[in-house]
Symmetry: C2
Subunit: 449 residues, 2 copies
């Protein structure tokens, strides 16, 4: 039994939906289908979700939305056209869109959630109708009926644990259930969405609740590459990766999946496969709790820019109990997150995402640290990138670090920071932004090819 | 103008004191002499300080101390013998020792301080007498008269800042002042000692107060070696080292000087030279705030054993604000210090000195972390050593890290941890204890020879 989740680009047009139908038909184990809203058909197209956002804006401004809901409805009918589905499905979609006119716009914390969720919800209705038109026993399944209960946090809902047991009751459903992604219901019956891009999390929740053998996540790429294709010419794609490796890769810019989306399947130990709707015979990338084949110690090289580093040095700092604690308390006071904190004997560096700071805040932060810590040296370095070499079982192999640093040295790439914890999974290098691409490239060619 | 401090082995016998006198005579800039108590004359000898400790124990047990104070007195008279000094100096020493009999032993928090400090104090009286017998204008200077005021913390005194201005008034003293190290006076006039080995700190305080050009610290070695002579055959000695480098080296087992002892000279920017009383023509090792000659990027390889590492992994840990803060608060609660805290995306390692833990405490700590953090993985690694490659300006040289890791890989030495912060001064490697010696050796031969 499998859960198959299809992303927006896989459902953008009738042509794409035809591929989705073929995928569902080809494997009788695909009993649960989770769908996103229709995505872009071309790079200058608009997603249904973007149109729905515009609806929200207009509703709040008390403006007319008829043209917008007609445009949205047209997206669904265009997809439906070649399949000759029953009109009742389309009528239900139209009614749902027309109902936006009657939504209260004052003091309605669920306005955005209700409007945006309709993109997925109506698409589930549509896809269920299309599957029926092909003679498959399929039906639309509302998340409330399914038992997908969430916290009442508009646009940032979290799953309630009791949902899993409720969802489990649908294991033996005689029909293929088509479930809209991206949202659930509060216990009071309100719609609440996950953070944006959250259809992946719906799929993971359903997979965990049903304890399926596999969660298939269909996208428009052949899985995950071992390096950024913009940096490395035709990088290898990864056959199998562990959740831990995936996390390290996604941290540094591998954005095929929201990493938080994998939490439910990670905890339920359900393997996930990333596959390509446009190339379904490609095996894709399998994400598992553990992988046995460790022949290749390095599985990927990832990178991300936009970091900065605060350097604090104070003679005999090491002897001061609670020193780091004070620094972190300042960070909490400023509501800042740090990423890493390598330390010497008398110095410490705090690496953080630059987008949390602006020049005013940065000055305040440094002034606070100067006042509270009274350091001998305090310095901010901007424009850092993090480059991560990832692979389970790197620990088994002496010399991965040596090979990495030698490769970087040969290219005259200076290391601002190295972070190799007890992690068996990664080594991280902090380097200047301008050298990021060169670093990724040289590290990739060190471990691949 | 210079402060010259002589350690216990430099003052252990008449023969040694003869060398000290020659050193003082040879440079008219040596106007301030700080002395330790007489040390061991051979490896099976007792230091005067050890005899004084025995005096304390006996006093507390209400036991007879006559034989002990006679033995101590005999040490001073043996040193004095060849110099033919005036008897008055020796009489004063005897009176000071005899006065122990009248010290209150109940409710006297300064008992140990008073008795132990006499080792240095009487030696200063003796050396002053010896210098006079050679026709030098020298006099014994009591720390109270000098203005060396400390906090009232028995056996753990800290300098009071006002001392520096008081000491400065003695700059133009017409006589060579011979000052006992190791202790000062509280504002109430009580004797309080620094932590043991603290004569070095007296020297640094006097040097800082007088703003001398150089603080000479005379020991029994030709300065600081670039690696442990027990690990590397005839390691090079270091000509010049910065305070920062010195700190990193002393952290990992280079124990020529108490690193805290250097605090006053560090802040006053006074250079310190470590010299050998037995080989005074050797230039020794100069410790400065900044050094200009960075031709050799690595200055030393140090190591220390006795570390352990707690590994904590939790999926999406990185997203939890305040996670590290919680871990550190647990450490504070247990009154534990950590040394380093390298982190991955979802994991963190806390490296600490093992001697802070025992099996019971360790279990309590791990249980507390498990309860508060609820990690996916929690693990303790024992028997780690830290190996540090130290050198200012390593940052200028791409490839030090590469050369280091390559050397370790060639010897099949596995890295549990690498810590290269923004520190320009060091890279630290965490390795298993059994590989420590091999690691130091291969790193030394990579950068020296």
């Amino acid at each position: 039994m499998k859960v198959a989740k299809f992303g927006g680009s896989s459902l953008a047009s009738a042509e794409q939906v035809e591929k989705v139908v073929a995928i569902i038909e080809s494997d009788p184990k695909r009993r649960f289908v989770v769908v996103s809203a229709p995505g872009k058909r071309s790079s200058d197209d608009q997603k249904v979700t973007d149109l729905l956002l515009a609806v929200c804006t207009r509703l709040c401004a008390q403006e007319e939305i008829t043209d917008l809901i007609e445009e949205i409805y047209a997206r669904y009918t265009a997809i439906a056209a070649p399949f000759g589905i029953e009109q009742v499905h389309l009528d239900r979609i139209w009614q749902s869109l027309a109902a936006f006119q009657t939504l209260p716009t004052q003091d309605n914390p669920h306005l955005y959630d209700t409007v945006l969720a309709s993109g997925e919800d109506n698409n589930a209705k549509l896809i269920a109708g299309i599957l029926q038109s092909r003679g498959l026993a399929a039906r639309y399944m509302n998340p409330q009926e399914l038992g997908l209960l969430v916290t009442d946090e508009p646009q940032n809902a979290r799953i309630l644990n009791k949902s899993y047991a409720k969802i489990a009751q649908w294991r033996d459903s005689p029909e293929i259930l088509v479930i809209p992604g991206f949202f659930g219901y509060t216990e009071a019956g309100e719609i609440c969405t996950f953070s944006r891009g959250g259809s992946d999390i719906s799929g993971a929740i359903v997979a965990a609740g049903l304890q399926v053998e596999l969660y298939e996540n269909f996208t428009d790429v052949d899985g995950i590459f071992s390096a950024h294709p913009g940096y490395v010419h035709h990088p290898e794609s990864i056959k199998e990766v562990t959740y831990r490796e995936m996390r390290e890769l996604s941290y540094a810019g591998f954005t095929v999946l929201h990493d938080e989306a994998l939490m439910p399947s990670y905890h339920a130990k359900i393997p996930v496969v990333i596959k390509n709707t446009n190339n379904p015979s490609h095996p894709g990338t399998l994400i598992t709790n553990q992988r046995d084949n460790l022949d290749q110690p390095v599985i990927g090289v990832a990178s991300d820019e936009g970091f900065c580093m605060i350097y604090i040095r104070k003679y005999l700092m090491n002897r001061e109990v609670g020193f780091t604690l004070r620094v972190l308390e300042i960070f909490r006071e400023f509501d800042l997150n740090y990423e890493h904190m390598p330390s010497g004997i008398d110095d410490i560096s705090i690496i953080m995402r630059s987008n949390q700071l602006n020049p005013v805040l940065e000055e305040e932060l440094l002034r606070k640290i100067a006042y509270e810590i009274d350091p001998d040296e305090l310095r901010m370095t901007h424009d850092l990138s993090m480059v991560v070499v990832v692979g389970e079982g790197m620990r088994q192999r002496v010399g991965i670090t040596a090979d990495s640093t030698a490769a970087l040295a040969r290219k005259n790439i200076n290391l601002e920071m190295i972070n190799q914890g007890s992690s068996e999974v990664s080594i991280m290098f902090g380097i200047h932004k301008e050298q990021e691409k060169a670093a990724v490239r040289t590290l990739y060619y060190t471990f691949f090819d």
